[in-house]
């Protein structure tokens, strides 16, 4: 599972995002935690499940809500070496969405495959 890497232990972290982006604070808080966690050089993956896939939809414009549009921040994850983004295929399909509708490149995987990925983690944090 965890392996020693010089100064410290590297663990596999999976952040599971299950909520739509603006109706509750979960999605934004999750992204904040991911960015903070990225500074600790862990092996980080993100999963977008159910309504969580809505977090990645292009063309979000929150001016009318006077709240922060944090969707562009997903594009910065690459700079933090967070490149493993998994999106549930069934969730995309049920919502009439495709990979081209998302703000960042992702790996679209079946729920069954995502379940395997979850089992391979040391730590799973669900938002």
């Amino acid at each position: 599972m965890a392996e020693e890497d010089g100064g410290g232990t590297v663990k596999r972290f999976l952040y599971v995002n299950r909520k739509a982006p603006h109706g509750t604070i979960y999605a934004h808080e999750s992204l904040e935690v991911v960015l903070i966690g990225a500074a600790f050089e862990q092996d980080v993956s993100l999963a977008f499940v159910g309504d969580g896939v809505y977090q990645l939809v292009k063309g979000q414009d929150t001016k009318g809500l006077e709240s922060k549009n944090f969707s562009p921040t997903f594009r910065a994850l690459e700079d933090y070496d967070v490149t493993k983004l998994y999106v549930e295929q069934e969730a995309l399909e049920a919502r009439g969405l495709g990979e081209a509708d998302l703000v960042v490149p992702v790996q679209v995987v079946s729920a069954a495959r995502l379940a395997e990925i979850m089992e391979a983690q040391d730590v799973v944090l669900s938002f």
Partner: protein, 101 residues
């Protein structure tokens, strides 16, 4: 007298829309707000359900909530868009408002 129903939850993770539509009588209005606006998108697993509802009730969606979610260009035919002023008008035009939370 016609009633205004508001729905603020996603139809994919909650039963709120379904419950609302079960109680919305013909001639009443349903306003989709917050995460409820995802129900207005075309080509989804709930589009057929909403299309069915549109035969008997008027369905509105709040533009600011659609835009915030990137859904403004995905709205299905028959759903009417309203801004905050339109929201107020709807409340004023109906005898009672039921907020399905």
């Amino acid at each position: 007298m016609p009633m205004l129903h508001t729905v603020n939850k996603s139809p994919f993770e909650h039963q709120v829309l379904e419950t609302c539509l079960r109680f919305a009588r013909p001639g009443s209005s349903v306003l989709l707000i917050e995460d409820g606006v995802y129900a207005a998108a075309k080509g989804t697993a709930v589009s057929a359900r909403l299309a069915e509802a549109l035969k008997t009730v008027k369905v509105y969606a709040l533009v600011a909530d659609l835009a915030a979610r990137g859904m403004q260009n995905r709205v299905m035919d028959g759903v009417r868009l309203v801004d905050y002023g339109g929201f107020v008008d709807l409340v004023a035009e109906h005898d009672a408002v039921q907020s399905w939370l």
